[in-house]
Symmetry: C2
Subunit: 385 residues, 2 copies
C-alpha cells in the first residue's frame, strides 16, 4: 500500500461547438495528445476508465467501449465512470483505485461528452433529468433554478451581491481567454457580465457555464511506472468523495454543499495538508454562486465570506488561493464527462510549471473540486509535485 | 496488499414484472435483506457502488444516487458502475478495488434495473442501442440478431444443434423452478423449448433470456471486517476483465467471445486455479448459445464441444461443472444492472451451503461470468470459502 499513484501524461481536446468531430473522435484527439505527452504507446497501457456522463448526449447506450475501442485499447479491461457533472473526477478516482489495488499498473482515463448538437434548451432539459425525475423534475426544477435558489439563500443570509457573482465570471473569462483549449476565449467587463440577460434570478447568462463538446485524457500510473514514463510525475496524494440527498427539498441548508465539506476534509486528511497549503485550485463553477460557495466549503475563506473573497481578488493569481486559472466551466466550457479530467490536466500543468501566462509561480500543491448534480456527487483531489 | 476481500452479506429482491415497485424501492428490498443477512446497520457501511445499466430504463439521468440516498447511505461516497449487461459485475469489481485500495473497509454493492414497463419490443430496441449506434444499429442489428449470427456460425463450424440449444433452456428452467427469486419458476420440456416461436433463426423464444425488473445487493468488506461481520465470509480471490471490438463486423471469429477467454485466464491466474477446480459456475446465458460458448471459453470443455457438454448433462448438478444452478438469465431473469450482483449471490449461497434443493454438495470454489453487450465487457470472478 506504499506505492504512490501519479499522473504521467495529459492531453486536452479543444472544448467548444465541435461539429467537426463525434464523441469517439474527440476522445481520440485528447488521447493522442496524452500519449504524445507521456511519450508512450497505447500498447503500454493496461486498462481504461472512460467517463461519459450521459447516454442521451452520446446517442449511445453504454457509451464507454465506443471510446475504448476507437483509441486502440482492444481487448484490455474497460470501466465506465458516471457521476453526472463530476463524471471525470469519478473516472480519476476509479483509475486511482485500480492502480492502488494492483489490478493495473498504467491506466488511461478519458472524459468526453458531446452536448451542443441538442441545443441549449434540450441540453438543459436532459441535465434537469439528473434531478429526481419522480419528485422534483416534474415540478419544473432545472439546474439554473437549483443554483438560483442557493444564490438567493446565500445573498439573503450573507449579503452576497449580484456584482460579486459577476466578478467570478469576469475572472474566469479573463483566464479562459489565455487558455487555447477553452470554448470561449474572450475577456469580459463587469458591466457586460452584469447586463447580460436574466436566466433565473439572480443568475444571468454570464453566471451560467457553457454547454460544450470536448474531451480530455490523462495517463495514471503506479509510482514505479510514473517515474519511468514522466520526468515530472504529479502525485495524487489525497482523494475525498461524498454525497447528499437526491432532492434539494430535503437539504438542511442551501448556502453550502455538505458533500464538498465532507469530501475536502477527507482529501486534506489523506494528503496531510490544510487549505492554507493549496497553491492553486480548480473548482466546480457550473454557476458563479457555486464558485463562491466552493471558496467557503473548501476552507479558502470563512463561511459567508466568499463574495468578499472574489471582490478582494483573493482567487486571482497573486491572491490567497488562485482559482480556475484555466477559465473554469464558465469560460473553458463544461462537456460533462470531460470536465473532471480537464481539471486534473490544469492542476498537472500548474504543478509542472507549464501553464504559460496563467502560471501560478512555484505552485507545489493543487486541488480539484468537481460536483455532480447539486452535490449528490462531490470529488476532491489533492495533487503534489 | 495482503488483505483479502470478502462477501459478508447478500440480499436478493424477487425478479419479475414488478409493477409494485420503483427502481429505488426494488433496491431497498434487496439492501434490507443484505443488511439482515450481514446483521449490520447501513451506518456500518463506508461507501456504495450502484450498478444501474441504463438511464432510459430508469427514466433518470445519473440514476445511482436515487438508490444510494433511498437506502439510507446519506453523505457517504457513491460510485456508479455501468457495463451494459455486465453492470453488476463491474460494480463488484469497482467495490473490490475501493476496498483493496484502502478507500473503504465495507462497501455496499447494489445492482438494480426496471425494464418491463417499456414492453419487450421497446426494451429490445433500447438494448440494441448498446450496439454501435452509428455503424451497426442503423442497419437493424439487435441483440437476438447478434447472438443468432454466433449460433449459426457455431452450428456451421462445430455441428452444434438446435436441440442442444434447447437443452440449455430446459436445464435452466429446471433450476429456475427451484429458485424463489426467479422471474419464471416453471420447468419446461425439450419439446416445449423446441416448439416455441422463432425470434431470429436459430434462436426461438426459449433460447432468449427474459426482460425483467429486479435488484440484488451484497456487502463487500476487507478481511478483518468480513470475518467480524460474517461467520461464513466468501472470498473473492480472482478477478478478470476484458473487452472486444465495438462492432461485430470487426470480430475475427463469431464462435467464441475473446473477452471471456482473456478475462478467465486472468481470473484463474490470480486465484491460482484451473477450470477443473471450479465446483459451480454461473455464466452469462443471455441466449442459449452464449451458455454453450461460455462452457468452451471458460475451459469447462474443449472448443466446439459445448453442445455435447449440455447433451451429456455435464453442466447439471452431478456433472463435471454445474452451471446456472439459480436458473440463469434465462429463467431467473435479466434485470441488467442486477444480474452480476445476483450471480455473486448464487455463488455465495452455494459456497455457504445454503442453496437448498439446488445445492452442489461440498462446493468450495465458484465462478461467475458476466458479459456486457456482445463481449465488449466481460468480467470473471473466482470465489472460495
Amino acid at each position: 500500500m506504499t506505492q504512490k499513484v501519479g499522473i504521467a501524461g495529459i492531453g486536452h481536446a479543444k472544448f467548444g461547438k465541435r461539429t467537426d468531430a463525434t464523441l469517439r473522435e474527440l476522445a481520440h484527439e485528447a488521447v493522442t495528445r496524452a500519449l504524445e505527452d507521456a511519450k508512450i504507446n497505447v500498447k503500454d497501457i493496461d486498462a481504461s476508465v472512460i467517463g461519459v456522463a450521459c447516454e442521451e448526449f452520446a446517442a449511445q447506450v453504454s457509451p464507454a467501449v465506443l471510446v475504448h475501442d476507437y483509441v486502440g485499447m482492444g481487448n484490455k479491461p474497460v470501466f465506465r465512470a458516471e457521476a453526472a457533472c463530476a463524471t471525470g473526477s469519478a473516472a480519476i478516482q476509479a483509475a486511482w483505485s485500480l492502480v492502488k489495488a494492483g489490478l493495473a499498473d498504467v491506466v488511461l482515463v478519458v472524459g468526453a461528452e458531446t452536448m451542443t448538437h441538442l441545443g441549449t434548451l434540450k441540453a438543459t432539459d436532459v441535465i434537469a433529468r439528473a434531478g429526481d425525475t419522480r419528485w422534483e423534475y416534474p415540478f419544473g426544477t432545472t439546474f439554473p433554478s437549483f443554483y438560483a435558489m442557493m444564490a438567493n439563500a446565500h445573498m439573503h443570509q450573507y449579503g452576497t451581491t449580484r456584482e460579486q457573482l459577476s466578478m467570478v465570471s469576469v475572472k474566469n473569462h479573463m483566464y479562459g481567454a489565455m487558455n487555447p483549449y477553452a470554448h470561449i476565449q474572450k475577456a469580459i467587463t463587469l458591466e457586460e457580465a452584469m447586463k447580460s440577460s436574466m436566466i433565473c434570478y439572480p443568475l444571468n447568462l454570464y453566471d451560467c457555464c457553457l454547454i460544450s463538446d470536448g474531451a480530455a485524457a490523462v495517463v495514471l500510473a503506479n509510482e514505479e511506472k510514473a517515474k519511468k514514463i514522466s520526468d515530472t510525475p504529479i502525485w495524487l496524494t489525497g482523494l475525498g468523495a461524498a454525497s447528499d440527498t437526491m432532492m434539494i427539498s430535503e437539504r438542511e441548508t442551501l448556502t453550502e454543499l455538505r458533500a464538498t465539506k465532507i469530501a475536502v476534509e477527507k482529501a486534506y486528511g489523506m494528503a496531510g495538508i490544510t487549505s492554507r497549503e493549496v497553491d492553486v485550485a480548480v473548482v466546480h463553477d457550473c454557476f458563479t454562486i457555486a464558485e463562491i460557495m466552493a471558496y467557503e466549503d473548501l476552507g479558502f475563506c470563512k463561511k459567508g465570506k466568499g463574495g468578499k473573497f472574489i471582490e478582494e481578488k483573493q482567487s486571482y493569481i497573486g491572491g490567497k488561493t488562485p482559482v480556475n486559472t484555466d477559465g473554469g466551466l464558465k469560460s473553458k466550457g463544461h462537456p460533462l464527462g470531460a470536465t473532471g479530467v480537464s481539471m486534473t490536466i490544469e492542476i498537472t500543468k500548474q504543478l509542472r510549471g507549464e501553464a504559460g501566462k496563467r502560471q501560478v509561480n512555484g505552485a507545489e500543491i493543487g486541488l480539484s473540486h468537481n460536483v455532480g448534480q447539486i452535490g449528490q456527487y462531490c470529488f476532491v483531489h489533492i495533487y503534489s509535485r
